[in-house]
Amino acid sequence: MIYDHSRKGRRATAQAPLEKPELTGIPAEMVRTSRPNLPEISEMQAVRHFTRLSQKNFSIDTHFYPLGSCTMKYNPRACNTLASLPGLLSRHPLAPDTHSQGFMACLHDLQEILKHVTGMHAVSLSPAAGAQGEFAGVAMIRAYHDARGDDQRSEILVPDAAHGTNPASAVMCGYKTREIPTGADGDIDVEALREALGPQTAGIMLTNPSTVGVFERRIKEIASMVHEAGGLLYYDGANLNAILGKVRPGDMGFDVIHMNLHKTFSTPHGGGGPGAGPVGVSERLEPYLPVPMVDYDGQEYRWLSEKDRPDTIGRLSAFAGNAGVLLRAYVYARLLGREGMHRVSEFSTLNANYLLKRLMEAGFDAAYPERRASHEFILTLKKQARDLDVNTMDFAKRMLDYGVHAPTTYFPLLVPECLLIEPTESEAKEELDQFVEIMRTIKQEAENQPELVKQAPHTMPVKRLDDVRAARELDLAYKAED
């Protein structure tokens, strides 16, 4: 704990102004009398402490990290370096357009690239993460129906396999949600969808390829059905990596989409963000896009705000969203170019299908063995859990001992004992082969020494943690009297 290094009166002297001016003009009753409880340490102690903390993490830079649905691919260092050039880093968000042309040119270029790669009519970059993009998308669906006086539409449909953010975002926009089941082949149950559609349907939120890792083959038919019922289609871009440059959400019939730039466009995941969740729309939703946006008249770039776009759903962050993340994504897009974008989906799909095939050969069960994997796939360890009493969580924890970050576990909820595995295009074949060997070894351990697996991990800084205690005896902050 950082506070353990704290000694009264110690500080990193080089970092603060030499003087502490007297406060003049601030009434005494407004001034703080208690000392803020922050650690008092030297600069080197801080550097050592946080360096050591960093070493307790798995990360893409240090480990294979096949966390399904999160697209943990290589984050090129150039993206960070070039987004952090002094002129870009020091630009104030409210700087006048005269001092913003370079920055705005990058954003405008990115808007255009994202528009073309998704086949949408227009793009706004402002949402700060995928979930905020979802919120923006559903809010636009609502604004569209409201503008037409079509106000009996109270329901958003979501597949039972959807990310939790989908129903949560719909509720934040004032909608009720209704779940649509997934069929045995992994596609959405089209008959159930047909029954659920009606005059109360505002729209449907779909991920394609879906969260079970397969392409929704009847998407055109689904789009027609939803449109005929007067609803709109929302595309959750979580799995865009699988189809980049191959098929575009706009061509599938989607009215609104969000993209996760921290997934498909390789901006860093940062231990949980920041992300960026730009939204793209078809022509009829264009007036509602969130502001600000960047406009270009062939000569100059300028911001579009509420004044220019009176029907906008509004502003979602104080300034222009996660600008630095957008710049990183822009650099990545320029490094890849159009041919690089095709390769993203090609090689992520090649890696996933190869790994799936090899794991099946090693005796693991695929959740959808008859289907092609997209950029990710699901194994179910139902058999192992039943026969050996070693479950998915145990496998996941044992993987950590072998130096691999566990895939996503127990999601989607409809597949029992599942592992959602996404290797991404940046992993080499030998890394995938190594993963197969690790899975094979753990399976043998589960058969011969189940306790070894059930007690794992053994080599991490801590063993399995007491989550129940964490929630019951809440300790959420260090207190001085501790």
Partner: protein, 460 residues
């Protein structure tokens, strides 16, 4: 092939294992008529050196003007160690700590962040961040509506002297849930919340009163009075604060008899560069009583199987990945990396360092205000005490003045005309600890020239 390691041999072996002829065969479940072509509109790929040259030229285009704009984003010194450490791959390229045992670095750091934020605000608990200050306010509003057991109201009192962008963001985010944000006027002379206007709402049912400290005009509010007023009227008190100011000003947890119930704000002054507005991070703290209404990730300290201390995501039953449509918020990915920077920043600066930065920024803004006031027709518009920003009245049109200053590479402040036309020609200025006496004199001199040049222009 940028960032793809496959050799031709690898590809052939892998295809053979799968049992297909070509990579394209792997896409055979996608209906052919949906497949897109070559995407000619997207530019071809460039090597890193060419992208670097492009970005360098764009960055140069924007210059590095002398900046006196604050208005929600502040130019502070960031110790070199902060971003050297933050961009270590182990922090930069990890994700949400779902596998706790392999993420103790991030988890402990987030626990330390929560500890430091509660230390700074004197609140009981903190979450592990939201997107930015404005969206944090929106979440605080939603939280207050859920969490105020005494009130059935979906109305919130929001002062007009709160950042105009924050008010707009809050409205965009909460309006579809039929939550109403009712505006409270500000006092035209002090710049503080107008107590007489506030009093008109006494006895009515509102879920919460929002209290900024400082407010958008840089003016300090009577937070004790406002907090007690909210509580007396059955409302929660939502503090919207500058976290740096909290090191020096009475913290939200100590306001009035009981302290604020929720405290949120923009974390940017704690180690995030200006960077065109983001990524920054929103913070959200509250009392113990409200912790189950919190949105976002929360880290708890616990023990492992051997009784050794460790850290884990906790109270996840509030969150979308568990509760889906019943979650406290849809937020998933937050601003983890910015929080990493902020935690390191606070650890290095300490209370003393932050107080020095805050006090120096306050002093520099006073110097700036005095220097500009030496010019004819320029003076502070409000009488209320300020932290590190001040509204200055100008004798000439604000847009003209700021435009001319900008062409001379000085960003002279934020034009209040659009958001507060009733103030006439007025500009919100800020001088952090980084603005030197020479910078201030530079601004004063250039504004003097601008005013003189305008005085010589015959009025129309």
């Amino acid at each position: 092939m940028p960032f793809i390691p496959h050799t031709e041999d690898d590809i052939q072996e892998m295809l053979a294992t799968i049992g297909v002829e070509s990579i394209d065969d792997l896409f055979d479940e996608i209906p052919t008529e949906l497949r897109c072509g070559e995407l000619q509109e997207i530019p071809p790929g460039l090597p890193e050196m060419e992208v670097a040259s492009l970005m360098q030229s764009r960055a140069r285009t924007d210059g590095e003007p002398l900046c006196f704009i604050g208005a929600g984003a502040y130019d502070h010194h960031i110790p070199a160690a902060v971003w050297e450490l933050t961009t270590r791959g182990e922090f930069y390229t990890a994700y949400t700590p779902y596998q706790a045992e392999a993420s103790q670095g991030t988890l402990q750091l987030l626990y330390e962040f929560q500890s430091m934020m509660t230390g700074l605000t004197a609140m009981d608990v903190s979450n592990a961040s939201l997107y930015d200050g404005a969206s944090a306010l929106a979440e605080a509003v939603l939280m207050a509506v859920r969490g105020n057991r005494k009130s059935k109201s979906k109305r919130i009192l929001l002062p007009a002297n709160l950042h105009p962008h924050y008010r707009r963001v809050a409205r965009s985010i909460v309006r579809n849930q039929k939550i109403e944000l009712v505006e409270v006027a500000y006092d035209k002379s002090t710049g503080q919340v107008d107590m007489a206007d506030l009093e008109k709402h006494a006895g009515e049912d509102y879920a919460a009163l929002v209290i900024p400290q400082p407010n958008f005009f840089g003016v300090l509010e009577q937070t004790d009075l406002l907090t007690d007023w909210a509580h007396q009227n059955g409302m929660l008190a939502i503090a919207v604060v500058n976290p740096l100011a909290m090191s020096l000003l009475k913290p939200a947890g100590e306001w009035g008899e009981q302290g604020a119930d929720i405290c949120c704000g923009e974390g940017q002054p704690l180690g995030a560069p200006l960077a065109s507005g983001g990524p920054y991070f929103g913070f959200l703290c509250c009392t113990d009583k409200l912790v189950r209404q919190m949105p976002g990730r929360i880290i708890g300290k616990t023990v492992d199987m051997d009784g050794k201390p460790g850290y884990a995501l906790t109270l996840q039953a509030r969150e979308q990945h568990i509760r889906r449509s019943k979650a406290t918020s849809n937020i998933c990915t937050n601003q983890g990396l910015m929080v990493t920077a902020a935690t390191i920043h606070m650890a290095i600066m300490g209370a003393e360092g932050l107080q020095r930065v805050a006090a120096t920024s306050h002093a520099n803004t006073q110097k700036l205000s005095q220097a500009l006031s030496s010019l004819p027709g320029v003076e502070p518009l409000f009488s209320g005490a300020v932290f590190h920003e001040q509204v200055m009245k100008l004798p000439i049109e604000t847009a003209t003045a700021l435009g001319m200053l900008a062409s001379d590479n000085v960003l002279g402040g934020f034009n209040l005309q659009d958001d507060y036309p009733e103030l006439g020609d007025a500009v919100l200025v800020c001088a952090t600890e980084l603005r030197s006496d020479d910078d201030i004199e530079n601004y004063r001199g250039k504004l003097e020239q601008v005013i003189q040049s305008q005085a010589q222009t015959p009025s129309q």
